[in-house]
Subunit: 202 residues, 2 copies
DNA sequence: AGCTTAAAATACTGATGGGTATTTATTTAT
DNA sequence: ATAAATAAATACCCATCAGTATTTTAAGCT
């Protein structure tokens, strides 16, 4: 909430930057998996003491929740926008393709998707991180579903396949594409695969 | 190789069953992930001492290799058969669907796919387990590719999409379906999603 | 200056991890 | 009987983990 907002009346001034720690945590969990990095290691990388982390985030679960939410708002917001912007269906599909083909390596960011990774390693996570991941997944599936519903009602999606089914399918295609990216599949190959996946709609 | 084949001339007779330990290991890694269960825990579950495991499998990496290979031959062989049986394309697609829709829970087995899980947690694995997972993945992609090539040459697959692209796509659909199963998605919903995925070929 | 407040850093705890040294038990060969 | 061989079981080693108690440092307040 406040990284700098209200300075307390007295006491030793805070030197640890919550945002800096979060950035390190997001990139670490993103690159190495939510269970692949320890708090000790994150402390080392962020140049911060362990009690500092615990004062700021409570416990490991709290850090993971904060990292996941930071990831969601920073890197997954564009996806939500595409689905709620009410674009013509074909245009939205193109935007989806662009989103998926974003070359993270070019921006110095890991491949893959932290949200997907958290969902997958659900049972090695704390309660709150699990809940946060589940909730976001639900919201995304719902947004996909509503988007398909709208496309149907606008006559841009001619099919009697249940919207929920289509939502699950598209969600899976996005996750798969990001997985392929992580595996090092070339961008043009990735594009062919994803466009093949979307070709079910034409 | 030999669980009982050659009995050594002398020494205390072996009581530990390699197959029993492997069965426990496969199910444990399958259900909880290749990094989600420790050797200590597998010892407990198998009712076997730790040095016993190390005598039999060398180290953790060796146990994972053995478990993965047991999984591959036991549960993934049918997939390979479908691809090499030279069935008519439509029939092979149906067999693929049946394979994916196998209800593991009904057989008391975990959902998801250990092979896929191993590939995904590659960088938390030992060298040999990683190599074994990679190799099997390559073989599967190659089998898929050849299968598509054959369908093309038989005129049952009319498209100019590269076979490698199609192979990556189908591989992703199988993995996605197993992931959905693990998430508890209903069988009929799963079937709709998978058939939607395969509808790109008709 | 001295007191209070709060964060930083160090050092610790107990549990668990992978892996192993050592001892004990059970067999065959002499 | 005893020695050799081999597996089983116990007990251990050291690293690392999540989490915490304790002390030190740096500020404001009086």
């Amino acid at each position: 909430m406040n990284t700098k907002g209200n300075k307390p009346a007295r006491g030793r001034p805070k030197t640890m930057s919550r945002d800096h720690v979060l950035k390190i945590a997001v990139e670490s969990y993103w690159a190495e998996g939510p269970t692949g990095v320890s708090i000790n290691e994150i402390c080392r990388r962020a140049g911060v003491s362990k009690p500092g982390i615990y004062r700021e985030f409570g416990n490991e679960d709290g850090l993971k929740v904060a990292a996941l939410q930071a990831y969601q708002t920073t890197f997954l917001a564009p996806l939500g926008d595409i689905l709620t912007d009410d674009l013509p269906f074909g245009q939205a599909l193109q935007a989806l393709t662009d989103f998926v083909l974003l070359d993270h390596k070019a921006h110095g960011l890991p491949d893959g998707c932290l949200q997907v990774a958290m969902c997958r390693s659900k049972d090695e996570l704390g309660m709150h991180a699990r809940q946060s991941a589940d909730k976001f997944r639900e919201q995304t599936l719902f947004a996909l579903e509503q988007w398909i519903e709208r496309a149907k009602s606008k006559g841009q999606f001619a099919s009697n396949i249940p919207s929920r089914t289509v939502a699950l399918y598209i969600d899976a295609q996005i996750a798969s594409a990001m997985e392929l990216q992580k595996q090092g599949v070339a961008q043009d190959e990735l594009e062919r695969v994803f466009k093949l996946a979307l070709s079910v709609f034409s």
